[in-house]
Amino acid sequence: MRPLLALADVVERAVSRVSLALAACLLPLLLAATVLDVLRRLLPGALGRIYALKPAQAPLFFALVMLTLGYVYLRDGHVRIDALRHRFPPRVTSAIELVGVLGFLLPLCSVLLWFGTAFALDAWRLGETGDDLPDLPVMWLIKATIPAGALLLALAGAVVAVRAAATLAGRPVQRARPPAGSGP
């Protein structure tokens, strides 16, 4: 159990770092692309050459969401209905979480990983471009965030599952970081 828990800590750090670094790029890019697009409309000619601002917005948002799902799970940020949960003993919550990850989350991730990979590969082979981006065959990159996000989410799920299993085995885990402050 101990090496598994140590591995879980390593995976948690890796997933968090990667997701947060990606969010730190994608969110400012989304805001910047949007603000620049407004400026371009207000000052015609100033940014005339950059035509990809508008079509970039929805993909940037999509990538942001897909690639941070795992990170949010690691921060215990996903919304729960905890009317009963805080009355359960830790072993019960751990058992429920273990079932949730193994029975529901990992199957979901597998489906997204399997079909999402094919989805992205097709876009890559066809050199698919965005609707308004005739010269940029980058659609595969955006579609690839489905399997990539599913992989990060599955890794996060594995970390949660290992810790839940440890609690069930009588080795409760001290949470490494406090839960997210802003979520309910």
């Binding site: 969110l27 989304l30 799902l69 209905i81 999402g116 579609k143 309910p184």
Partner: protein
Amino acid sequence: MIALVHALPLLMFAALALLLFSGLPVAIALAGVGLGFFALGAGLGLVHPADLSLIHLRIWGNLAADEDLIYPAVPALLFMGAALEQSGIAHELLAALSRASRRVPGHLPIAVTLLGVLLAPTAGLVGASVTTLALIALPSLLDQGYGRPYATGVVAAAGTLGIVFPPAILLFFMAQALGVQVPVLFMGMVVPALLLLALQLACHVAVGLRPGAPGRTVPPADEAESWPRLLLALGRSGVLPLLLLGVVFGSIIAGLATPLESGALGAVGALGVAALHGTFSRRFLREVLVRTTVVTGMVFFVVIGATVFSFVFVLLGGPGLVTGGLEGLRLGPWGVLLATMGIVLVLGFFIDWIEILLIFFPILVPLLMRQDFGAWLGAPWRIPAWIGVLLTLNLQSSFITPPFGFSLFFVKGAAPEGVSMGDVYRGIVPFVLVQLVVIALVLAFPLLATWLPDHVLRTPQVLLPNFTGD
């Protein structure tokens, strides 16, 4: 066996209810029920296993192919809210508002309510806004000598008031769920939201006027507290954020900007507010980024889970079953409306608006939208805005209605020791009455919700060109 097959969609809901209360993340419960019943349906030969390859396409279609850019506006608005919150304006504003209005009876509760309106529209979920407000304002209210019931009531009502003030995020999802245009719902909410605010403020003044009420004795002006300083504080923590919200609201209404554009401009403006406050730093940026990311991921994972759930629900013939069942009851338009409002009220006791809008609205709303209130409203195009406003108020009321109201538990959770659940229940009663009065008014006088969209946005011409003959 055949009965079981027909009942599968209903069993989905039973399974979902069970899993939701197990305390699993809502999104995981939704996806789990969806996939589980897909497997069951495939085993019974009701669905084709190959349909599994459509799930990622549904998610893609919902999130990435959103041409109106409504969902992408959510992280931008959350960023704006997080930046405003982290800039530290709340404490300064509360102090400044309270001091500036210290001759008005009930000035501190008034300041708390105004703060709730100002901060909450971008805060996102009920729990977050109520908790923030409780942490900032509840200790001062109790210190000033307000009773525990009233003080907690003020905070719960103020924190919940903000979530329905445009440009609240709830309204984007409500508009999406009902198929109403965002500006129409925004405009429709203006009068009812201001009514709620006015009635709450009237409560505060009435309480403040009672003999022996706290704050009756006007505290002497602090020596160090000069008017220029107070004005500066009010300006940078009150007027600037208000202007920001006004610009976001106005540009969406006027059709000058997409919701995403308005939100992004608001986000940049909020960074400016933080810079003026001297709180802009690497740590600040990191905190804002993390908060925005966490709430965005939380909200849209529920969207993804709900996509999986409803995909399977539709495959199994759920919508027809529910609509057919409800239609079989022959409730008539008013019966359907009141039944829907009742269901929403009960749901709001237990779960936050995001799940209600994403899971239950797709099932409840189609039937409601087919009901003919044209005669009551004077014109069919007013129906969606009116219903949107009603359901928004309805949802908001359920969050503060004892004994289960969602916000009440959050206030209790963030309250100092000694505050009991009974205090919270007693304190919220006047504000629940205020909600009921406003809902009744909107039901009885639909003009409250429909006049502004009609006249400012010229709804009939914009929405339904073929109705211009009116």
